[in-house]
């Protein structure tokens, strides 16, 4: 096993899967000549040619729509959308077609396409390079959604996404693209969709997170260590959710804090809380507290540290819950 950064693990997965299956085709803005603005697709054009690693026109609905057609022609397109907030022009195709076309054919045709994009804040970037749009994806029927927090999962979940017969949106936490570093299995590596990852075990309180917030959750768990035994659960696949893992942890600790970067209202944390409110009500020893981004535009970066869920905010929430 090699140590890799998260974005290198993404690149690795693409290499391995394109090697393995010649119907896998990578497309997007600047993915070819320059290997992607984050270099996630570096080397693919040289290795597999410009027909399998395609620099597209600057047209996100075109990318997503063409990918639907490519599936019908027998390809497995992996679309890179350059940034979270630049994925919105493709939402129409995603909601009305990507998520519905299999259904529309009575299950006769597969649409094994993958949408991957860097997402999330904290990177000191100009406006609109910081969104956490998972709610838009996770609410959309017919697509699955995965968010890795570690290099190994970045490779394994992307591999699973590419092999999945259904459309999968993979959101990659760009904040940790080149800070999360870890062992990544060589060659083929699959992390099945729908399985959460127990980051650390604990008895008193569970922090549920995904993406870059897993690190924040771990930081908070460390900070709380002398006061409480904290379990950290990385959801990893938002849809389908590993309900069992979530409910098991809630049953064990009885206290749940949920961390999410996205604006609070109807964010994915709401879904997690709702599942708990419906299925774990007798286990809960206190409120389910969400620590989230706020219901305002993602701010100028001088203020982003105040906006993003911090270790301090998670510790504060956990403390309130432990003292409840």
């Amino acid at each position: 096993m090699a140590e890799r950064f998260l974005v290198e693990a993404v690149n690795d997965a693409l290499h391995v899967e394109m090697e393995r299956d010649e119907t896998v085709l990578v497309m997007g803005e600047d993915v070819g000549r320059v290997g992607g603005v984050f270099r996630a697709t570096a080397g693919l054009r040289d290795r597999f040619g410009a027909d399998r690693c395609v620099d597209t026109p600057l047209a996100e609905a075109g990318i997503m729509g063409a990918a639907v057609g490519l599936c019908m022609a027998g390809w497995r397109p992996v679309c890179e959308l350059q940034y979270d907030a630049f994925s919105y022009p493709a939402l129409d195709q995603l909601i009305n077609h990507v998520g519905r076309y299999r259904w529309r054919t009575g299950g006769a045709m597969d649409f094994p396409l993958v949408v991957r994009m860097p997402y999330g804040g904290g990177v000191r970037a100009p406006e609109l390079h910081d969104d956490s749009p998972e709610t838009y994806y996770v609410h959309t029927p017919g697509v699955k959604v995965a968010i890795p927090a570690t290099p190994a999962d970045a490779k394994g979940l992307l591999t699973a996404a590419i092999r999945d017969p259904d459309p999968v949106v993979v959101l990659e936490p760009k904040l940790v693209y080149r800070t999360a570093r870890g062992e990544v299995p060589e060659g083929e590596h699959v992390v099945p969709l729908g399985e959460a990852r127990l980051v650390r075990e604990g008895d008193d309180l569970t922090i549920v997170a995904y993406g870059a917030m897993v690190g924040v959750a771990e930081g908070a768990a460390d900070r709380l260590a002398d006061r409480a035994s904290v379990e950290v659960l990385d959801v990893r696949t938002l849809k389908p959710l590993d309900e069992e893992a979530l409910l098991a942890s809630a049953a064990k600790t009885g206290r749940v804090v949920i961390v999410q970067e996205a604006p609070r209202t109807a964010g994915y944390g709401a879904e997690l809380a709702a599942v708990l409110a419906e299925k774990a009500i007798l286990d809960l020893r206190g409120p389910v507290i969400r620590v989230t981004g706020y219901d305002v535009p993602y701010p100028y970066w001088k203020l982003e540290d105040a906006y993003m869920p911090s270790v301090e905010r998670v510790v504060d929430a956990a403390t309130r819950l432990l003292e409840f």
Partner: protein
Amino acid sequence: MIGDGGSVPDGEVDGLGERELLDLYRSLILLRKYDERSLVYHRQGRIGTYAIFWGHEAMQAGAAHALADEDWIFPAYRESAIGLLRGIPVSTVLSWWRGHPAGWWNPADYNVASICVPIGTQVPHAAGFAWGKKLKGEPTVALVFFGDGATSEGSFHEGATFAGVMRAPLVLFCNNNQWAISTPLSAQTAAPTLADKAIGYGMPGVRVDGTDVLAVYEATREAVERARAGDGPTFVEAVTYRAMPHATADDPSPYIDPERVEEAKRNECVGRYEGYLRRLGVLTEAQVDEVKDWALELMREGIQQAEAEPEPDVSLVFEHAYAEPWAALRADLAELRRILGG
């Protein structure tokens, strides 16, 4: 191409012999009868809201006949019945309008994509498909139908841009019936003609009389040949005037020009072609009757079959959304069955 039986002489089309001319006629009649009967079925409450295509048959059949069997068609709702020309059963299309899952089909069985309801979003599908086939080295061409209104949509633009850049073997076929529901072409775009948009995508744009099935056929065939030869996409604008309401739910009286409607009805495409064939001497009264009876019989059988479909099982709410429904979806179905059963 089709004359008026008087001062404007009839033309001929290379490669269309008597058999092909009659096949084309059958297609026109099938579409016409489908449309006319559907309107009746709608009034009888046997199908739901329905998008009338009366007067559009020449564009649909003319374009479809210019394709090879392996070529794909990407229809909008206006071309809901185009699949009939590819062997999709009448009952399937009627089921679609009846809101029944028997209206589902496998695009790969007929090389006809699903009916696209949102405006213009099928254009990038078709572009991606055609490009994808080209990448595989297959000679398949795709043809995508859309309306005049669709040319204002970003999806159209992005799809056409892709087709141009990828030199996709695609025919972008615009049904310019001059209305998008109540919005006239003059309020839709300031472009002199829709075909003028083609240059912006680096493809040829041709304009053709949409009520002349032979002109449509010929223009499309040229576009198909160009595509198959590797010379990329073509934009075909076929011009007609919508003589019917947009759909069964629409009352065009506040906006339509009744004189233009009357003119369009007088000049309608099936009658024009029938006149042509008669003048050419290849269509007899008996053949006309035979073809119309055949089409009506197909419709009769189709609606019977559609109505004989059993009520769909609730499991179909959940099936086919994903290749494998997961636990929560299975639990939802179980709960729903329990509640409906009790």
